[in-house]
Structure formats: C-alpha cells, structure tokens
Symmetry: C2
Subunit: 258 residues, 2 copies
C-alpha cells in the first residue's frame, strides 16, 4: 500500500514550522517549503534542510502530500495557484471546511493539530491531538498513518465537529490568555510582579488535567461571597471595561452554584 | 531571638490542610487543629499527627503563632471567641485587611499563600509565593522566617496591594477555569472529549511562564478575523449567555491590536 512519506509544506508560519520539525523527526521527507515571503521560505527550508520556493508554479509535483498551513483566508488563493488537481492536499485549519478543497483536487483532507504554536517554542508533538478528515477512506487511512508518525493521539474529526472544537479552543486558550493579560495589568497597577501569579496560573491548568473544570471552580463568585465581589468591583471602578467583564463572568460563574 | 516554631491551626479546609502539611514538613510543630466541625478537625489533626478541638475556649495557649485559615467572613467571629489578646495571630486571606485583627491582639499579621488549593491535591509549596504582612517589624521578621521554612518565595505585601493581588488572582485562576468549563460544555455538545483540549490548556499556561500574556495572545479576535468571529457567533446563537460572553471578551481582545 502507498504511504505518504514525502511532503511539501505550503506556508512557513508557526504551524508549518512546528509541523515540519515534527514530521521530519517522524521520518517524513520534506521535499520543499513554499512561502510567498522569501525570508520565511528560506528560514524554514534551512531549518528543515530542504529546498524552498516563493512561486506556487514552482512547487515540485512528485510529493505524496501537500500540507497547506497558511492563514485561513489564504487557503483558497494558494490552492487556485498551484495546479492541485492531481495532488493530495490537506489544510491544517480548525475552522475551514474540508470541502473548500473539493473543487481543486481529487484527493483532499484536513490535518488539524490542536495546539497553540509559537515559532520559537518547542512543543512535544507526541501529546498533541491531531484531528484528521479526508475525502475517502483510503485517504483517511493514509493520513492517519502519517499523523501517527508525529502524534500518539490521532482522531478522525469531521468538519462540523472540528468547527465546534475550534470554538472550544478559543475558550480553552485565547480567552484564558486574555484573562492572564488582565491579571498582569492589575498586578502592574499595584506595583507587583506578574511572577507572583505564575504558579497559580500553572496549577489552575494542571488541575483540570485530572478534574473536570466545573468541579475545579473556586472563587468568590462561585461561593456567592457578596462582600468580596463588591470590594473587587469597587477596586475596578476606574476601569469600566474590566469591571464589565468582571461582572459578566462572575454572573455566569454564580449560576454554576444554583 | 524568638522563633515561631510551634503553631495552632485554626481551620481545617483546603488552605489549612495544605499549609499544615507544608509547615510540618518545614520542621514547624503543629500543636493543635481547631475546626467547628468535629469531622474536619479530627481528619486534619490525624493527618498532622496532633491534637484537635472544636471549642475555641480549648485552644492551647502556649503556641508562638495562631494561623487562622477559615472563610473570610468567619475570621472575626473566630478571633472574638478565642481570647486572643496575648497571642500572635495571622490570617491567610487575600482580601481581608490585616487590621481586622487589631482590636483583638497585640501581635498580628497576614500570611497569604497565593495558590489554589484542593484538599486532595498535592502542591509543591516551595514555589508558591507567600505574601506576608505584620503589625511590627519584629513580627514581620518572625513571620518571614516562618514562611521561609515552607516557601522559597516570601514577599512583604501590605493589605492594599494584597487586595489587588487577590483581584488579579481571580483573573488568573477563577476566570480561566470558567473558560475551561465553557470549553468543556462546547466539546461535549459536539460529542467530543474534553481530553482533546488538555494539552492546549496546559501549553497556554506554560507559555506565559516565560512570555508576557499580552505577547502570547493569539486567536481570531486578535487577528480581527471577521469570518471566523461571525462563524463562531453563529455556532453560539442557541446559547445566548455564552454568545454574549464571547462577544464581550473578543471585543476586549480586539482592542489589544489597535
């Protein structure tokens, strides 16, 4: 049976970088890196010790898989430009339907690694859930085996579920990070170090690795501690946006207790 | 110079439990545990291999420090009942002023460990910031040395700053945990496992251990990705409270980019 052992990476951002490193480590050959930016293409290709191009027309044709790891709204324009018909194409987006690739290729799918990636931060890819989807069972099987070479947690997740998962990821990552940002601004206003909060932030995330977050919930809003809630709103009255956020979230948390 | 080597723990909840274990490990003698609940008092006293009482009048008088680790609104009634005048009293609350102890004792202060504690979850106390405050420099020094026996991060934080810190802790712990709860409800509605989100939650918390959260912010709201924002609001239209929360937080995040 055919295997996906050599790939082209379309894109050179955070996802492409971390994915490329993981694939190479998993024994997959990276034939080429494409990016419209010469600098990014060169940087990632050097890192992966392979060739690069900034022209969609110069993408090599012999790869068994083309992984499109570009911004969501660039996926279609990239596919249009690359003569994809005979190729096996996947994108890596959480929120874009697999079917956007259907008009352009016979073999297509999605390979969505559910993690927040930074270009310069190493991650253990083996623990990252990789959600896959493909236009046929054969392609799904091929993708599954490729994904298994980089992660111990490969799951088939169709587009509709993946959209919900991506929404959940916003609540699991982007919104908590914003809460950290507000926390930082509050300690800074009090001339304190953000360092003080780091063990708390980490323990809060560690706790829900083994306990359901609903059971792990604590704090004045859950306890319905009106004295603290009022005192904290008083502290926030000079910051109306944060105050409004505080009231809104506290109000939702207090409902957990009813 | 006098040292605080033997203490009484007033309270037997999560904070009292984790603090008692850490103090004992740090070489401090726990002379007694008080709780109004016989069961809780007995449980923690057994764990710490010491005596217990459910009567404030029976609290031993020879301890060099009395640590009041009870609910915020129970602090005063406990102090009133225990004939505190000659004792050195501290409470462990983030949001209660040190001065509530002033009418009841000549020596008083605060010992606030900044962490979320669960009765059954072990924590490495050594990395937990312990914020202290006392009514005199001598008492501050005594408390500082006691706190150093359980933590490598002891800081003097006066009441006004500690109130701000406690508010920041709500944004660093309680609110992110609530976001995890919403994320869990979303994946469950999609018939997916909360497990899928765990590596993401952990990495998000790990990232801000070394990068400022403002710099670590990612996601559709920060990028101003209207297509995803609208798509996600569409997914949430059956859940008006979550939708409102989503709009509010996304709106605040989008301001970071301006």
């Amino acid at each position: 049976m055919q295997e996906l052992r050599d790939i082209v990476l379309i894109g050179a951002g955070n996802v492409a970088t971390r994915l490329g490193i993981a694939l190479r480590k998993g024994g997959i050959r990276i034939l080429q890196v494409y990016s419209r930016s010469q600098e990014s293409a060169h940087r990632l290709a050097s890192l992966l010790q392979t060739g690069h191009t900034t022209s969609l027309k110069e993408i090599v044709t012999e790869a068994s898989l083309y992984i499109i790891a570009v911004a969501d709204d660039a996926i279609e324009s990239v596919v249009k430009g690359m003569e994809a018909q005979q190729k096996f194409l996947v994108h890596t987006s959480g929120s874009v339907d697999m079917d956007v690739l259907a008009p352009w290729a016979q073999n297509f799918g999605v390979l969505y690694p559910l993690q927040t990636f930074s270009r310069n931060r190493n991650v253990d890819f083996n623990t990252i859930p990789v959600c896959i989807e493909a236009n046929s069972l054969v392609n799904l099987d091929l993708l599954s085996r490729l994904a298994s070479s980089i992660s111990g947690d490969v799951r088939t997740v169709p587009s509709a579920q993946r959209r919900m998962l991506h929404l959940a990821a916003v609540f699991a990552c982007n919104f908590p990070n914003y809460m950290y940002t507000v926390a930082e601004s509050i300690v800074h206003r009090a001339n304190l170090d953000f360092d003080l909060l780091k063990p708390l932030i980490l323990e809060t995330a560690l706790k829900v690795q083994t306990i359901s977050p609903e059971k792990a919930q604590t704090g004045p809003a859950l306890r319905g501690d009106a004295r603290i809630l009022e005192g904290q709103m008083e502290l926030l009255k000079a910051y109306p946006e944060i105050l409004e956020l505080y009231k809104k979230i506290s109000g939702e948390i207090s409902k957990l207790n009813t």
